[in-house]
């Protein structure tokens, strides 16, 4: 592995995707040439730069220098770079070699057969947006479909609900249509399964981190069909790559285009639009849409939506503001309201192609595609569609830089690259990563060092992570166990710590939601806050304890925990023994003596046990008598450990 190879890959990537695009629509060899030249230059810079090159040699984590044993270091890395250690995993990492393990995690190329097996029956994970839009219908679309097919009378309440559901199900099946909920379920379930069982743990942790950074939400109807492909195509491939690539991928993905409204942000400051012709076209489209609607066409709503989208004209600043405030510069990153408006103008026309079949807009689009839209600067790349006729052609000034008139698609890409490479972005992203991986309040010196690497490597995330893990602050004893697990991290770490078999991931989702983290549903573009005080409060804390109990005592349907096998089917001799055994399995390399002492006092208190059995005796009619056998005691002990303060920390 040489530094040149590593550096070239991310540089070639955009070239590859761009070549596909340019082949069909706009031959821009000068641009590609420039990129290649830039790549060569950059490689040379780093070949001569000690610091830059160092990041790409094999990793040498200085944990010994900071007083960590191999096992302690492995436990700490597993705490922060995985969703929790599995039984025996600390030893496995030590045996493999800590540096090698970290390198492998950065690569994230394990074949992951366990995950593949668990995901084998999933139907949606490989689908493209077009298939999804035309197959997975939401409640309203299903109702309209039912109306159209005479299954339900528009004006009356359905009499026989069961029969109706059955008919509807059959007909949808015949037509190859599915309810949207199935897509959402698979999206949620795949995240849970990958987090719990993937060997590429760091990539899963980073996918979670970056999705949250570029948050989109299932709560918004316009983007809910695209979230699965968003995570898969715009986040996952870039989690250790170059930040600017991920920023651009998110900017161009239908989910983000819809979530922050950029798809409908348009300008009429444009030489391509003949307003009279447009008015006639719109009239015709509206008539066609209305006809389809009165004919009860199942896709009429899509058509109406498309027609509306074409009709509405105007600037929407939502995405422009959030790309600066939340995705790149940070709120104090040095931009003004005027910058927000200018960025919004630069991104007018950034939209998605019509994905629903048989809608007028689709036909217009296909026709346009046949002649490359008359070579007028339109760009189509997968589902991204730059509508040159909706772009603001006037000159703009953004963050002090002038953008001349008629910049077209390229202008927006330049703006996005400029934001990705802005010094404020380096600082903002460095701090956010340090907050996730080191401490809720990372030191300024650590953030500065990570930001420096970010700037020097053109935003290479892998390099920034290596800088972080090499820094003394990462190994500072103060930050050990300082982070509190998010509800998702808590649930997944419990699954991993017990080698639990999750057959119904939806149950995990429900519990995580109950503990305060409804994954994929966070409504604000900010994503979930990453700090302990956000997660820990009175109601949520009780639910964490209840989760631990329900989980370990096998009260969560579809999740199997075999506690005995974790101890080689050797039954602990006493409650105290059970505490010792399971504390050390669930919380490796932590000092569990105090905890064990305290819980032991409770679970072995004869008078307490007597009270329980007395109470059970007295209240036979009110409560189910419980046999206080060893088995239930062990699972309760395990539940207490998982619900304990120590297990909430990482």
């Amino acid at each position: 592995m040489t530094s040149a190879n590593d550096l070239c890959l991310p540089l070639i990537k955009p070239f590859l995707s761009f070549s596909v695009l340019s082949k069909t629509y706009s031959m821009n060899w000068r641009r590609i040439y420039k990129r290649l030249i830039a790549g060569v230059c950059l490689t040379l810079v780093f070949a001569f730069s000690e610091k830059g090159a160092e990041n790409y040699r094999s990793v040498k984590i200085p944990y010994k220098k900071y007083g960590y044993t191999d096992r302690q270091a492995a436990a700490r890395l597993l705490d922060r770079f995985s969703f929790g250690a599995r039984p025996g995993e600390v030893d496995a990492v030590v045996n493999m070699g800590i540096n090698k393990w970290f390198e492998q995690q950065l690569e994230g190329t394990d074949a992951d057969t366990a995950v593949a097996t668990r995901l084998a029956n999933f139907k949606t994970l490989g689908l493209d947006n077009e298939t999804i839009v035309n197959t997975y219908l939401d409640g309203g679309q299903i109702l309209r479909f039912a109306v159209k097919n005479g299954l339900v009378n528009k004006d009356s309440v359905q009499g026989d609900k069961k029969a109706y559901q059955e008919q509807l199900k059959n007909l949808m099946q015949q037509m190859g249509l599915r309810p949207l909920q199935e897509l959402q379920n698979e999206l949620i379930n795949q995240k849970i399964i990958r987090a719990a069982y993937s060997n590429n743990q760091l990539h899963e942790v980073l996918t979670d981190f970056w999705f949250n950074h570029f948050n989109v939400s299932l709560t918004k109807p316009q983007c809910q069909q695209f979230i699965l492909t968003y995570e898969r195509d715009a986040i996952r491939p870039y989690v250790t790559g170059n930040f600017s690539d991920m920023l651009l991928a998110t900017a161009k993905h239908p989910a983000m285009l819809e979530f922050l409204d950029n798809a409908s942000s348009v300008s009429d400051k444009n030489k391509l639009v003949n307003k009279k012709v447009e008015a006639v076209v719109q009239q015709q489209l509206q008539k066609k849409a209305d006809d389809m609607q009165s004919a009860g066409s199942a896709i009429a709503p899509f058509v109406q939506q498309a027609v509306q989208a074409r009709k509405v004209q105007g600037l929407n600043e939502n995405y422009a503001r959030e790309i600066m405030e939340l995705h790149t510069l940070g709120v104090d990153g040095g931009y003004t309201q005027a910058d927000v408006t200018s960025v919004a103008r630069a991104l007018t026309g950034w939209s998605l192609r019509p994905l629903a079949k048989d809608v007028p807009a689709r036909n217009v689009f296909e026709k346009g595609l046949q002649n490359n839209f008359g070579n007028r600067g339109f760009v189509v790349e997968k589902d991204f569609f730059f509508r040159a006729d909706k772009h603001d052609d006037d000159p703009k000034t953004i963050l002090g830089k002038n953008f001349p008139a008629n910049g077209g698609y390229k202008e927006g890409e330049e703006v996005i690259n400029m934001l990705a490479k802005h010094p404020s972005t380096a600082q903002f992203i460095a701090k956010k990563l340090a907050t996730r991986f080191v401490s809720d309040t990372p030191s300024v010196s650590l953030v500065n060092k990570m930001a420096e690497t970010f700037r020097k490597t053109d935003g290479n995330i892998k390099a920034v992570l290596i800088t972080m893990v090499n820094d003394r602050e990462f190994w500072n004893q103060k930050s050990v166990r300082e982070k509190v697990k998010s509800p998702f991290e808590l649930a997944i770490s419990a699954i991993r710590a017990t080698n639990a078999d999750v057959q119904q991931p939806a149950q995990v989702f429900n519990w995580v939601n109950k503990m305060g983290q409804k994954i994929y549903y966070y409504q604000a573009p900010t994503g979930f806050p990453d700090r302990a005080s956000y997660w820990i409060n009175t109601g949520a804390l009780l639910n964490r304890m209840n989760f631990g109990l329900a989980f370990a005592t096998q009260k969560i349907p579809g999740i199997k925990v075999d506690l005995a096998s974790l101890n080689n089917n050797h039954e602990p001799e006493s409650a105290e023994d059970a505490l010792k055994v399971y504390s050390n399995i669930f919380l490796p390399e932590r000092d569990n003596t105090e905890n064990i002492k305290r819980i032991t006092a409770i679970v072995t208190d004869r008078s307490v046990l007597q009270k329980i059995s007395d109470a059970a005796e007295k209240n036979k009619e009110a409560v189910t008598p419980v046999a206080i056998n060893n088995h239930s005691m062990i699972s309760q002990v395990a539940g207490i450990i998982i619900g304990s303060p120590e297990f909430q920390r990482k």
């Binding site: 105007g314 600037l315 604000a524 905890n595 109470a615 409560v623």
Partner: protein
């Protein structure tokens, strides 16, 4: 804190504090006894706050319909009492109330609803996150303020309290309630127990173990949250919550806000010592196809006002003790945007309801909506600081008279929205 802990030990809580398990048949039965024991604590004034997340379009909620500029800027979104479709309620010959707030109109007529218009933050950020953060911390130019204004209000109440003094019906604590004074966040009151299906005895034992562990942990946050959780758990009667029947004839909308207000009603009627309650209402970020008489805004407004009206009717004999106030992070652009909606703006409006509210009036300093009178030529300017409105309610209803602590860095005047 010391006081409250002392109270817990000496008072009704001694019953539970005496033993980890206690040997008492079931947790539910104990909680029922406890509830009676709390009764002697006299009823307190309750402030209910609703945060309308996403920034409500104040100009659509309460429209200065006589201003011709607005009609021009909102070709499809303008509404007025003169309209044939979507006829607004005429409040005072100048302002019209959106018809979807019909459930709140009687409050205005009876003088129990005051509307504050042109209200907002002096910080002109148009970011949801920042504006909410500033409004909830109560310090619009200082991000570093550790506490929320409602938490400081709780601290200024100056008397002993139960764990349910400040409750947010949310799964996580809102910024408004961050701080040193104890506050509870809970989505569903029924979850307030250590649960082991069909095994309440073991649940008691386990609860004891957890309590001990959280009491001993070195992590301050977990330690404190643990204490609060167990104190709170012991006070709540899960059975009463499950079987709660609102006042006859009251139907809460089956919506997040409806359910939140219903749970607040339960807490108030259980006399568990609630003084500050917090709930959220979402969906106000109407960038796209906002609708006028019908549509997104109207649906939200309907749920919002029906939920509040149901809550108020349910309060019944408690109405004199309760004041409800709403807030939203900013308003929206005076002009509609190109996508049938409105973008982030500046001032919005707020509703304050209660028997001691000097209502039936739209409090405002709004001039014209001519371009030159708008902030940045586009937004309704903030002419009333949100703290002028918040402090009025806190001063009069909660009898807190320390604006310096409630809103540090602010020496503005307090509006007089309340009777007496």
């Amino acid at each position: 804190m010391t006081n409250r802990r002392a109270f817990m030990k000496q008072g009704a809580m001694a019953l539970f504090a005496s033993g980890i398990v206690g040997g008492i048949p079931s947790f539910i039965a104990r909680a029922a006894d406890a509830n009676k024991l709390f009764m002697p604590y006299k009823k307190k004034k309750v402030l209910v706050c609703i945060f309308q997340r996403g920034a409500m379009d104040g100009l659509m909620a309460v429209t200065p319909y006589t201003d011709a500029n607005l009609k021009q800027m909102r070709p499809t979104l303008f509404m007025s009492p003169a309209a044939t479709e979507g006829k607004q309620f005429d409040l005072d010959g100048r302002f019209g109330l959106h018809p979807a707030f019909d459930a709140l109109y009687p409050f205005f007529k009876e003088g129990r609803l005051a509307i504050v218009h042109g209200v907002g933050s002096p910080n002109n950020t148009r970011s949801h996150f920042d504006a909410q953060d500033y409004m909830e911390s109560g310090t619009p130019f200082n991000k570093g303020t550790a506490s929320g204004w409602l938490n400081r209000a709780v601290g200024l109440l100056g008397h002993d309290a139960t764990p349910f003094r400040a409750v947010s019906i949310t799964s996580a604590l809102p910024r408004s309630l961050y701080g040193d004074n104890e506050a509870v966040a809970i989505n569903n009151l029924q979850d307030f127990a250590i649960q082991m299906k069909g095994n309440p005895i073991a649940a008691n034992m386990v609860a004891g173990s957890f309590e001990e562990l959280y009491d001993q942990t070195t992590n301050k946050l977990l330690n404190r949250a643990g204490k609060e959780s167990f104190d709170a758990m012991k006070m709540l009667n899960v059975n009463n919550i499950k079987n709660y029947q609102p006042t006859a004839g009251v139907v809460y909308p089956n919506s997040p806000l409806g359910n939140s207000l219903k749970q607040i009603a339960v807490l108030i009627k259980m006399d568990v010592g609630l003084e500050v309650a917090f709930a959220e209402s979402g969906g106000w970020d109407t960038h796209f196809n906002q609708g006028a008489a019908n549509g997104t805004f109207s649906r939200n407004a309907k749920d919002f006002s029906d939920s509040i009206a149901a809550f108020w009717k349910d309060m019944n004999a408690y109405q004199d003790d309760v004041t409800l106030m709403t807030m939203t992070e900013f308003g929206r652009t005076a002009a509609q945007n190109g996508t049938g909606g409105t973008d982030h703006g500046r001032a919005s409006c707020a509703f304050i309801i209660g028997n001691d509210v000097a209502g039936g009036k739209v409090y405002n300093n709004i001039k014209s909506l001519a371009k030159e009178d708008l902030e940045d030529g586009r937004d309704l300017p903030v002419s009333i600081d949100f703290r002028a409105s918040f402090s009025s309610v806190a001063n009069n209803h909660l009898k807190i008279n320390n604006n310096r602590v409630l809103f540090p860095d602010w020496d503005g005047y307090t509006l007089n929205l309340m009777k007496g």
